[in-house]
Symmetry: C2
Subunit: 180 residues, 2 copies
DNA sequence: ACAATACTGAACAATATGTTCCGTATAATC
DNA sequence: GATTATACGGAACATATTGTTCAGTATTGT
């Protein structure tokens, strides 16, 4: 690849990640990226068709890195058939941590955030007394997990709307293992 | 409230929900709502400061309805101290079902969807052999729950970044009850 | 009937997107 | 070192959306 291309691409990535940290994905505009990267408007659009295309490309790079199997561990553990899935998860978490600040920018859902904000507030209140008190896990984490598990259940339901509320409720309690 | 206000407000809601179903929240523009509701531009902005304000107001109405305790059940069950939390969940699901098509429009996260799309694809592959085969719950649902549980764990981590990967991993496996 | 107020329409500035054209600068290649 | 290819830059452009302003009209509740 041309050295010029590499440099501008890196400048775009640098600007993009910085803006992600500062404002989150939804608020970042192409114009800001252009200004921050100090490149021509035309140049940006020859590299990426749109802001989403940039994000896609960016995610590809991150995940190629995060899901690359650690060569050192590859020899001692067998990840392929789920025996050491926990070690694999830990390994991925280590990689993710390297991008942890950028992740916040991407994960700050802006579109469904309002709805989810309302929903989760109500749900947290409702589930607060049902979450098992496990000293090994922060209560806050567990409650959040149950609340999100329910949100995700509803989301799943919107795509499999053939089930009845009772069935959905059964699935949820079977999966979350909380006091019913 | 003035009858005119009620009528325009309802026209806005009608247009908004229809557009939510058709395109999802992120793609809907204020202009579309105005055109669909067949009202003046000025009128919309006297009712709502912004598209987000409309969504907030809309969510308030939905949740006031969804979380209203069923008077019939209120007498026979004691929801307040989590004895019949499962019945309460089912009850909420019934209410949610009435808005199920609108929910899809709101829940179709557009901003973090790209990232999550990548992430979840990889995770589903990874967890596919770790999900317990429970005949009472669709495998698809369970896998989705585990994948989302992990995504949400990462999201939670970005807001509690003091923990180590090992700790986070422990929390996750303690909460999800899958084969480690 | 009348006063209050909600709606309308048009125009406006500001901002963002994505494209086009052309000149310049920097590569890779001979 | 000269040449050719191509990446970059800048300015201008059309288009779309947002949110505001203002004067005039229509509808309400009293």
């Amino acid at each position: 690849m041309d050295r010029r291309q590499r440099k501008t691409r890196e400048a775009i990535y640098r600007a993009f990640t910085a803006l992600l940290r500062e404002e989150g994905y939804a608020k970042v505009t192409v114009q800001q990226i252009i200004d921050r990267a100090d490149i021509g408007r035309t140049t940006f659009y020859t590299h990426f068709d749109t802001k989403d295309a940039l994000l896609r490309s960016f995610c590809s790079e991150i995940f190629d890195h995060v899901f690359s199997v650690d060569p050192g561990k590859e020899k001692t553990h067998d990840f392929s058939n789920a025996h050491d899935i926990k070690a694999k998860v830990t390994h991925i978490l280590y990689h993710l941590r390297e991008h942890i600040d950028v992740l916040s920018g991407i994960l700050s859902g802006e579109s469904d955030a309002v709805f989810m904000g309302f929903f989760r507030e109500k749900l947290a209140e409702m589930f607060s007394s049902s979450v098992p008190k496990d000293p090994a896990v922060p209560y806050d984490y567990r409650l959040n997990g149950v609340v999100c598990g329910f949100c995700e259940t509803v989301r799943w339901w919107t795509k499999h709307s053939g089930y009845t509320p009772e069935e959905i409720s059964d699935f949820f309690f079977a999966a979350m293992a909380i006091t019913a």
